[in-house]
């Protein structure tokens, strides 16, 4: 199964992120990865949690603007040149990356995990020989 990411509109105001994290905590949702892209006025918070659909519904109920999209999680060897190797494969395939961020976890011994948003599906990544993780493997159990 594809890895689902929830994005949230963040107004540039103190306490916004704390508010969201508290809403998730109260709903017993565990975050697996988090990334923020910002402009001067607002930001986009991207989240991978153990329960993406529940995350979407609980945040929407709290009047936050959210959207759900598929991303690709790729295992990257945690050593010098690990990421360079992965990115070279992606470049060879002519895939352009819209954004990417890393995921922290102790479950992938010796590896890091990078999350990619591109124009391609995870199948293209897997076919290129990259080690793509499915939803269960990154900790989504919904």
């Amino acid at each position: 199964m594809e890895v689902r990411q929830i994005s949230v509109f963040l107004e540039n105001k103190a306490g916004q992120l704390a508010n969201i994290c508290r809403i998730l905590a109260d709903a017993q949702i565990d975050m697996k990865a988090l990334n923020i892209a910002e402009t001067a006025d607002y930001g986009v918070l991207r989240l991978i949690t153990d329960k993406p659909l529940k995350t979407l519904s609980v945040l929407t109920k709290n009047a936050l603007v959210c959207t759900c999209s598929d991303v690709v999680a790729v295992k990257v060897p945690d050593q010098p040149g690990g990421l360079a190797g992965v990115l070279e494969v992606i470049a060879e395939k002519g895939i352009s990356i819209e954004y990417m961020y890393s995921m922290l976890s102790s479950h992938f011994s010796g590896n890091a995990v990078m999350v990619f948003q591109t124009t391609e599906s995870s199948k293209v990544f897997a076919d290129a020989g990259l080690s793509v993780l499915d939803a269960g493997e990154v900790g989504i159990n919904e």
């Binding site: 509109f9 402009t39 607002y42 986009v44 991207r46 009047a63 959210c66 959207t67 999209s69 954004y99």
Partner: protein, 431 residues
Amino acid sequence: MGYYSKEIECASRSEIRRLQDSRLVEQVRYVWDNVPYYRHKMEEKGVKPEDIRSIDDICKLPFLKKDDLRDAYPDGLRGAPKKDIVRIHSTSGTTGKRVVAYYTREDLELWDTCVARALCAADITDEDIVQVCYGYGLFTGGLGLHGGAEKLGCMVLPMSSGSTDRQLQFMEDLQSTVLCCTPSYAAYLAETITEKGLRDRIHLRRGIFGAEAWSEDMRASIEASLGIKAHDIYGLTELSGPGVAYECSEQSGMHINEDHFYAEIIDPDTCESLPLGSKGELVITSLTKKGFPLLRYRTRDICILSAEKCSCGRTFVKMSRPMGRSDDMLIVKGVNVFPSQIETVLIQQGYAANYQIIVDRQNHSDTLDVLIEMTPENFSDNLGKITAQEKSLVAELKAMLGIYANVHLVAPKTIARSEGKAVRVIDKRKI
């Protein structure tokens, strides 16, 4: 298609003019005899009642402005003794003193008739269930629509404003077919109905929305989301309230109740009368009022009058939707800016019509900021897409206004939503 008073609503232009001629002469005489404040203004201008023999002479009369109404507060313009007055209303004036308007029993009767005509023109009958969510009280919206709907024989729900949950409960349980409120509250209700998935459980078919500037795009969006036909209604507390003019099935301009109100268009700067079809400030003269008769009252609303034949059969002159007010028009960097222009762009670009305009002055130069609520439709995980949309919004605003506006996207439901009139403009300039 029904008419409430077909004989007069569809009378020939010459009949209407004859009626206006005689009513103006009577009204001027009545004001001269009963309103010393205006009599004094006439004397200052050297005009006597006998100088006014027909509508053609109306330009000899002095204007009344909002300032006059404030000067004459609380009852300098009252035209009938207190024992004949049965009600007052008052405007929600934003600055200075309020304005109080007085009504005799006959005034209320004619007001209700004007509103009943408006409802008929929107194809509303005594079969309809009319939910009035305008405020009741000093504001004329609630009691005005209430009186007209009751006169027509509708079943009226006197909800007043606010308590959205209760509004929706009644709307669903009593199967309201007509909604009367401000366009911004209608848009808010539509949004809430969609959110709560109540669309299939409501029975609305018509809306009468007024007391606020709104655009064609806003109309289209309310009509689509509620599945209704939305009709505009025009009026001012000073001139009785809603029902001075109303939209028919054509939904293009509002017929003025010309047997009770005479309309002119003037240049707001020079006060010169302008010919039919020109854009300018609407000036209204009451022809039949007793409690609070006003001659040549400057409404500050900018619009166009048209006497073109209307497909509904009515012969009353039509006024366009007000394009802004000569006084809430903002002058930013020397350019005239009307909030309705900004609203039009927002709706075209898929944003909510809930916005706030903040004008300030920094380093001796005006700044224009527009706060806009993010919508789920315009949101994306891709920051590039959001900023591209934002850029296009800024470009469209620039094209519409001629000046640059700083756009700020904010979280939904963070801009205060009033359930009466919306606060759209905050002018922080201290000039």
